[in-house]
Symmetry: C2
Subunit: 152 residues, 2 copies
Amino acid sequence: MLGNDYADQTCSIARSLEVVGERWTILILRDLFLGVDRFDALVASLGVTRTVLARRLAHLVDEGVVEKRRYSERPERFSYHPTAKGRELMGVIALLMQWGDRHYPHPAGPPRLLLHRGCGGGADDHLTCDRCGTRLQPEDIDAPLNPALAAG
Amino acid sequence: MLGNDYADQTCSIARSLEVVGERWTILILRDLFLGVDRFDALVASLGVTRTVLARRLAHLVDEGVVEKRRYSERPERFSYHPTAKGRELMGVIALLMQWGDRHYPHPAGPPRLLLHRGCGGGADDHLTCDRCGTRLQPEDIDAPLNPALAAG
C-alpha cells in the first residue's frame, strides 16, 4: 500500500512525484523558468493561495529544486530561482507543453514557443533544435509568447 | 484566478495537467505502459483506492488517453490500454524517471532500465538511443526491471 505518499515505492517516477507531483508544483516551476520569481508575482500569476504557494516553495527549496534569494532587507523579501537540479525538469515541462499543444490546441496556435536561444529554431519532441540539430539543454531554451497569440 | 482547475489558463502545460496532473494519474500511466492493465492488478500495484482509480481511469478514457477493452463477459471485466495519444506521454514519464534516478538514486542502481527495443542501447536524456543514435518513439522503448536490483 502506498498510503499517503509514494516514498515506499522502489520507483524513480514515484520518488520524483514526491517532489514535483503536487497539484501546483509544475506550474510554479513553469513560472520560475519564465522568470516570474517573486512571491507576490507568483500568487498573481497562478491564482494559488499564499499558504499553498509558501508550502510548495518551501518543499522545493528543501529538496534543492529551487533556491531562495533575499533581494530586500527592509522589508525582508525573497525571490525564487530554479537550481541546476530544478532546471533539469525543463525537459519534462517542455514535453508536457508540446503534448498540450498537439492535443488541446489553442485556435491561434501554441501560447508559447520553445526556441533554441540564439538560433531561433524550434525544440522538437526530442528536445533537439529542428534547425541546427543541437541537443538542447535547459539553458539553451527560450519560451517566448507566441507573437500570433499576443496579437489576438 | 485559477480556482479549482487550470482550464481558464491559456497555457498548454496547465491544460495538460487538467488531464494528467492528478495525484495518481502519472503512476497509473506508468503501470499501463508496463503492461499492468487490469483494474484489480492496478489496485494491487498502486495501493490506490478502487474509487479513486475508477475516477482517474474514467477521466483518462474520456480524454482519449486510455482505451477500455472488455476481456470477459461474465462477469463483465475490462482492461485498460494507453491510446496513441496516451503513449505520447511516455517521454514525459521517461524524463521524470531519469530525473529521479539521478537525484534520488537507489543504492543498487536504477529500478528500471529504459532500453531501445531490439538494440539494447539505453535511452538518453534526449530520448535517443545511446548506442545507435535512433530517436526513440514510445513503441521503441522497453522498461525492464534492472537485473542488478531484481537480484538484490
